[in-house]
Every structure is written in structure tokens, then in C-alpha cells.
Amino acid sequence: MKKIIIALLVLLLLAPLWSAVGCDLNDPDKDVKRLFPGSTGYKTTYRSIQREGGKPLLAQIEKRLGDKFSGLYETIDIPYTLYTIYKGKSIAGYIHGVNQKGYYGGLQVFLSLDTTGRITNMYFQKISSKNVKLYKASSFTDQFKGLSLRDFDAYSVTKRSGTGKAASIHNPAPGDKDFPAILRGVKKNLVLMQHFANWK
């Protein structure tokens, strides 16, 4: 009994600290149903590089991403919101979003993934760009379906080039500076998910 009371108090006290979350779904109930039509429920957890491994973990993530976290807003203490989707008692997949700096504003890149780390859907919750319609079109976002982090290993986010499936994603607005930012956002999301879901 004593333990339950202490645990409840700790949860109550910590709740306000977690309220400033980086990239949440605007309408989780609706979005989960849309991305995982057969799902029966979901669980929201708040993850943090700082809490879960600090600088060594950040170094690992940056190494796999092939780029440093930079700027005022891409920092070690950002809280990430992970939605674990259930079908009955088993996990059906995950939804996770990241903020990524774009040319004209912040991009919120959300991925839904199966339990093996393959992208089942990709969409922008927010995107500021002159080519919004092209990037939001299913002809563009569908190209990410079925890809996993391995497909991005041969793509360099700093050189903005490479080989493999990720490098062959068609840019609907050639020359547009948001395209490399989108690929970086997707790769960052996948690298973080590899840690959060503990995929090898």
C-alpha cells in the first residue's frame, strides 16, 4: 500500500515536468486509428536521450545518423513521444515523430512502423515549404513505405547523396532545399526508433 501511494505521488509530481513534450500527435486517438486501422489501443511513453544514456548515447545516435545534432532546438534534452500501438495484447507497431529544421520552418515528420522497424506510413504533421502539396502527396510519402534504417545507411545526410533505396527516393521539387531536410528527418526518426524499440 505504502509503495502504491509513493508511486502515485511521484507520478503526480513528475507529470508537469513531462508536459513540455517535443513532437506529439495533434489528435492521437484519430491518428492511431488512421495509421493502424485494426488497432485496439495505444500506450504513450516519453523518452529522452539525456535520461536514457546521456552523451554516449547521443554520440551513438549521431554516428548512425551521420550528422551532429545542432542548432538551438536539436538538443540532448528533447523529450520524444513514442506511441506503442496494440492489437489485443500484442504490439502492432509504433508511431513516432521528430522535429526537423526545414528551409522555411519546422517540419514535424511522423512515421508509423511495424514491429521490425519497417515504415508503414510517413506523413507531415507540419511543414512550411513552397512545395507543401508536392511533399504531402501520397505519390511522395508512399515512397518511404517498406523502408527501414538499413536502407538509409548508404545515404549521407550531410553530403545529401548516397546509394540504395533512400538515395533513390524521387524529389518531386528538384532543387528544393526542404527535400534533404525531409530525408534527414526520416533518418533521424528511424535512428531514434532503433534505440527506443531496442531493435538490433
Partner: protein, 398 residues
């Protein structure tokens, strides 16, 4: 020989669960009471700070209903009406005016936000006069605009965080496809400016094709100016409306008065429940110790001794409950504030709950007072127990 308070404390420990539950009731009541009184204090102060931070005492807007004007000022709302820029010349001649700052609000639908889009708002300000009105604004990076017509933007901290912008980056005005260069990021100020994108008003007029038009003018008056008389004077200008900060304060205060009355009623109910709980606990305790009290009296304890003993139990419960409740109120102030923000139609940016030492003392005093009143009856009944009757029967009737 142990003191009366030591015996009272020992008695409470004999029935731990019952004492704990009573203590919990008192603590929760104290928590609610302190949080609500703290809210009354904090809300008023934050609202005043928010409005004082606007830097001007009077806002002149284009004619419309007063609620629209207040919304426009506090939240950069929609339903824009314009007044000619020439109004600045008329205002500058008024002797009461110390400073003027023209403003132009513009809102545009941004289809890129979320699935259904949202409104993106821009605030056009005058780089020559606006910074001197908002002296509390500091820069995390960069500075104000390089010239009054530059296609530049200064962004509040939260807006910059959302847009991931730094000095030198660009932002796009939705729908217009116009690029603005970010020249400054403001530090977090705890005001509505944190979410604002400032642009030189001349540049904003050009972008939105509203040359020579303003949505509002902020006016700072000289000290000792009769603001009411000045407001009346301003109405001589055509198609304008005057909103004083005092008016805005009272409008918003009246909006939350109903909520305040409701929560205070809940607090009073909580206190009454705690009072009944204390009385019940002490009465039960007296009832159980009916024989024991009789023996104490037969051994020489006076009615006064018994009264003080029972009353002391009430004092201990209320004092401990009050302290625990105060700690709860202090520890959970952030959570309580989040709940209030969720419920209220408008919340100022500063701390909504202000709990200071005098408030804590006052609240514990109120709880103690209520507890002492609740303890009088059981203590009185205990002091009237007749020793012979009590020793003869194991339980009494009160």
C-alpha cells in the same frame, strides 16, 4: 508525569488508521484552500503583469465591439478592422500623449499546419517606438529590424522553437509566398510575445496590400493624466474605439469571476466535510474511551483536564493536517496550475498560483480555527462524563 498534549498524541497513535484518514481529510481540505487562495492572489498579479507589460495604458483600435478589441490585443485575434495611419498625426498633437506605437495585426490561413490547417498571425510594429514600450523584451540572438521597411522578422522564443528558426533563417508568409529573414530571436518572456512573429508594420502593410492602414495604436500617457477624460477626448476621432488597460483587466476578471465563485464554493464544502470528519473522529474516540475517561476522573482528573485532553487531540490533528496540506499545495502547485489553465477561458502567462508564507500561515490558521470549533462539542461531552456511570458500563452514549 506526561503532559496533556503527550497523552493526546499517544491516544491518536492508538487508532492509527482512523487518525490517518482524518489527517488525510484535513490535509486535502487545506490543500484545496491554499491552492484556491493562492490562485486568487496569483491570477490577479499575473493578469496585471501581462497587461502592464503591454507598455501602454490605452489602446486605440478601429471601431468594433469591445470584446473584439480585447481579444485582438490579448490574443492577436481575428475579425480585423482598420483605421487610417493618419490617425497617428492627430494623436501626436494631444498633450496627454507621451509615446505612440502603431501596430498592424495580420492573420492568414496556413494550410501546412496539421491536417486541416490553422491561422498564422503576424504583428506589425514600429522599430522606432515599439522596443521602448516593451523594455522587458530581450534577445536570445540578433536584434530588432535593420530598417522600418525591411522584409525581416523578430520571433518570440516559442514560435522560433516551433519553427526551428535561428538568426539568418527564412520564414514564409503563407498564402503570399513572401520570404522574411529572421534577424532576432527573443528570450522567453512568459508573455504572449513568446508566440509572436514581429515584422516592421510598413513591410507587413506591403505584404498584405493594406498600405496606410493600422489595426491599433498603443498610447502611453504622461503621468497624472486623467485616463477617463483622455478616453472621452479620443472618441472625438472618427471610427475609433478606445480600450484602456483597466477596462481589459475588468473584462477578463469578470470572465473568471464565475469560475472563482464555483471553486471557492467547492473549497467551503471540502472544509465543512473535513470539519464533520474531525468531529466524528473525536466523538468516536471519546465513545470508545468512555470507561477510561471515567477512571481518569475518579483518579482526580478535573473536567477541565478532560476537556483540554480531547481538545488537544483535535489541535494535533488539525495542525499536522494543515502542515501536510500546505506541503501538498506547495509541491503540487504546478499540477494545480495546469488544471486551472485547462479549465479557464483565458489565463495570463505568469504564475497563476501564488503561495507565500503569510497565505500558508493564514490557511493553517483557518483550518486550526475550524478544527478547534469542531472539537468543542466532543471535548465538552467528554468533560461531562460521570465517573461512576462510566466505570459501570464499557461504552457510553453521547
Amino acid at each position: 508525569m506526561p503532559s496533556i498534549s503527550a497523552i493526546a498524541y499517544k491516544n491518536l497513535k492508538r487508532k492509527r488508521l482512523r487518525s490517518f484518514l482524518t489527517l488525510l481529510g484535513i490535509s486535502l481540505s487545506t490543500w484545496v484552500l491554499i491552492s484556491l487562495l493562492g490562485f486568487n492572489q496569483g491570477y490577479e498579479r499575473s493578469l496585471s503583469t501581462d497587461i502592464d507589460n503591454l507598455g501602454f495604458q490605452v489602446l486605440l483600435t478601429a471601431k468594433g465591439c469591445p470584446y473584439e478589441a480585447a481579444t485582438l490585443m490579448m490574443q492577436g485575434g481575428a475579425g480585423l478592422r482598420y483605421m487610417p495611419e493618419s490617425v497617428l498625426d492627430s494623436l501626436a498633437t494631444q498633450p496627454e500623449v507621451q509615446k505612440l506605437t502603431p501596430m498592424l495585426m495580420q492573420a492568414v490561413f496556413d494550410p501546412t499546419i496539421g491536417d486541416t490547417g490553422a491561422i498564422a498571425a503576424f504583428t506589425g510594429v514600429d522599430p522606432a517606438t515599439f522596443p521602448s514600450m516593451r523594455t522587458y523584451l530581450e534577445f536570445a540572438e540578433g536584434a530588432w529590424f535593420t530598417n522600418p521597411t525591411a522584409m525581416e522578422a523578430v520571433i518570440g522564443y516559442e514560435a522560433a522553437e516551433l519553427e526551428q528558426r535561428q538568426v539568418g533563417d527564412l520564414i514564409l508568409v503563407p498564402d503570399k509566398n513572401v520570404e522574411l529573414k529572421v534577424v532576432g530571436i527573443l528570450k522567453r518572456s512568459g508573455t504572449q510575445d513568446d508566440g509572436t512573429i514581429f515584422v516592421p508594420y510598413k513591410a507587413l502593410q506591403q505584404v498584405f496590400g493594406v498600405q496606410g492602414k493600422l489595426t491599433s495604436v498603443g498610447i502611453k500617457v504622461h503621468k497624472n493624466t486623467d485616463i477617463n477624460a483622455f478616453e472621452e477626448k479620443l472618441y472625438s476621432l472618427q471610427d475609433v474605439q478606445v480600450v484602456s488597460m483597466a477596462q481589459v483587466k475588468s473584462t477578463i476578471s469578470s470572465l473568471v469571476t464565475t469560475a472563482k465563485v464555483m471553486v471557492m464554493s467547492i473549497a467551503i464544502i471540502a472544509i465543512l466535510i473535513a470539519m464533520v470528519g474531525v468531529m466524528n473522529t473525536i466523538l468516536m474516540s471519546v465513545l470508545e474511551r468512555y470507561q477510561e475517561i471515567g477512571i481518569m476522573k475518579s483518579m482526580g482528573a478535573s473536567a477541565g483536564h478532560i476537556f483540554r485532553l480531547i481538545w488537544s487531540e483535535t489541535v494535533i490533528l488539525c495542525l499536522l493536517g494543515g502542515i501536510v496540506g500546505a506541503l501538498l499545495a506547495l509541491g503540487l502547485a504546478t499540477l494545480t496550475e495546469s488544471l486551472i489553465r485547462y479549465i479557464l477561458p483565458f489565463s495570463p502567462k505568469g504564475s497563476l498560483i501564488l503561495i507565500d508564507f503569510p497565505l500558508v500561515l493564514r490557511s493553517i490558521g483557518i483550518i486550526m480555527g475550524i478544527g478547534l470549533v469542531s472539537g468543542i462539542y466532543p471535548a465538552y461531552r467528554a468533560s461531562r462524563i460521570k465517573p461512576i456511570e462510566a466505570i459501570r458500563s464499557s461504552e457510553g452514549e453521547l
